[in-house]
Symmetry: C2
Subunit: 288 residues, 2 copies
């Protein structure tokens, strides 16, 4: 990564944020992410900084009624004590509601692959999860094993400590090794940045590095740290990665209302354990 590019984008993002705070004085302002609509001049500057890094795919104003929310949901069970029966139930629900995927720990990939054979539900698993602090080689091997066993989507956690230590080349390579393994198998690679542990500046850096390292999605949270997805983080992430990279909101999404707020802010995918309650309109209990 070229650090001067990162600095430029960060400066521009913060400039826009100030601009927005200056202009936006009424309660109807949804958030500073609306700059891209309200401040065309600022957006032009962003695009001039490199269209492959910043693009205009905010998702503000989508008609939620027209979306099939279920097809955006990764139905998730990552608890350490989840049993074989729990995973079978998860797969059965995913089949019934046509969720995008089930998101499970790697040891259960062969089981989920078998349970979902012949359905439209994909098998998604997690890599370096939830701390993101294992070696690059371990993440790559863990991903390759899961892909060989039937995983079609890979949610990997960045090395947060290395990001905070300014080791951007390390962070890039760590993501890139997993993304390349996924690409070889035509699998989707989502990159979890764990927003609750990052400053806004670090969130922007993480998104830029993930995009450069060939991530298909950036994802807010593991659900195992100090906090989950917020609408403003989703908007910031979507703003930085643009339309060619998806944003997955995860962590603490317990109701249809939560999910809709994330989608309005620009989320393309929702990670939730309360998925059934989200599509049926109830309120879930899961922490994920």
């Amino acid at each position: 990564m070229d650090n001067s590019v990162i600095d430029k984008v960060i400066t521009q993002a913060f400039t826009e944020k100030s601009l927005h705070q200056f202009y936006c004085t009424t309660e109807t302002c949804a958030g500073w992410e609306r700059n891209i609509i309200d401040q065309p001049e600022a957006v032009k500057k962003i695009i001039n900084n490199g269209a492959d890094r910043i693009a205009a795919g905010l998702g503000v104003g989508r008609e939620l009624q027209d979306l099939s929310v279920a097809r955006m949901i990764d139905h998730t069970l990552l608890k350490a004590d989840a049993t074989i029966d729990d995973i079978k139930k998860l797969c059965s629900e995913a089949r019934d509601y046509h969720f995008a995927s089930v998101c499970i720990n790697p040891a259960f990939v062969p089981l989920a692959d078998k349970e979902l054979d012949g359905t439209d539900v994909k098998v998604c698993t997690v890599i370096g999860f939830p701390l993101g602090a294992t070696s690059v080689s371990a993440k790559r091997h863990e991903a390759e094993t899961a892909l060989n066993e039937g995983a079609e989507e890979i949610d990997m956690v960045i090395n947060i400590g290395m990001l905070k230590s300014g080791e951007y080349d390390y962070v890039f390579n760590d993501i890139n090794q997993v993304a390349l393994a996924a690409k070889k198998r035509n699998a989707v690679c989502k990159v979890i940045i764990e927003t609750s542990l990052l400053t806004d500046e670090e969130k922007i850096k993480a998104c830029l590095i993930a995009k450069k390292a060939k991530a298909d999605f950036v994802k807010t949270s593991t659900g195992f740290s100090t906090g989950g997805a917020t609408a403003s983080d989703v908007a910031l992430m979507k703003y930085v990665v643009g339309s060619s990279v998806g944003v997955k909101a995860s962590g603490g999404i317990r109701s249809r209302e939560d999910a809709e707020a994330m989608i309005e802010s620009g989320a393309d995918r929702i990670g939730a354990s309360a998925s059934v309650k989200i599509v049926t309109g109830g309120v879930g209990e899961g922490n994920y």
Copy 2:
């Protein structure tokens, strides 16, 4: 594993617990683990069940003043956002106080190996951490990579969901693959059973399987789940694994008093982030 042996040991352990509750009517009874001293007949039965599975190494009544507590401590920092500077500080403290090891995430093994070169402090890392739910192959490769990079102790997490699903052969193989990788390099293998998620019966099963799978230690907790070490869990684990396998107490040990309670119950090693405060007699703040 032979399930009838597991059942026999569990029955015997619970019988002894009842015996103890029956006999022990005063406040001086430290806990049911004292059966091994107070109930020689019951102990004989246990030993008759197989001396390689149950042995008499309780550690009750040790003179703590004669022990160098520091040499029993794994100085621990496993937070996802720990930086390079944090790890350097951890290594520096471990050198100063002669802790047994520093316990860090795999990505920092090369750094810790360099920082601790020429000292008596070992590099310990964690495998399949903290959920224990990745594939067997991923755990084995993660361990081998860490051992190649300088790790001399390996703390691996069992597959808790598979244990709860009754898949004992899976749990055995999962541990054994990592233990064998460690043995090849003369490294120590500790097996984390995550007591807070297990019933007493499951704790006993996990300890028996870990011992059979060539664990050098069983360890109570990751520090990332719903609870940490308790004196009664340490006593139960020591009781089951005997003197040839060590017990490491970890999670929530914040003071010298906590550490001493664990050692009195039979712990051979203490995992703590508050290590300096433990040896200097203060009270720590860490959750680990």
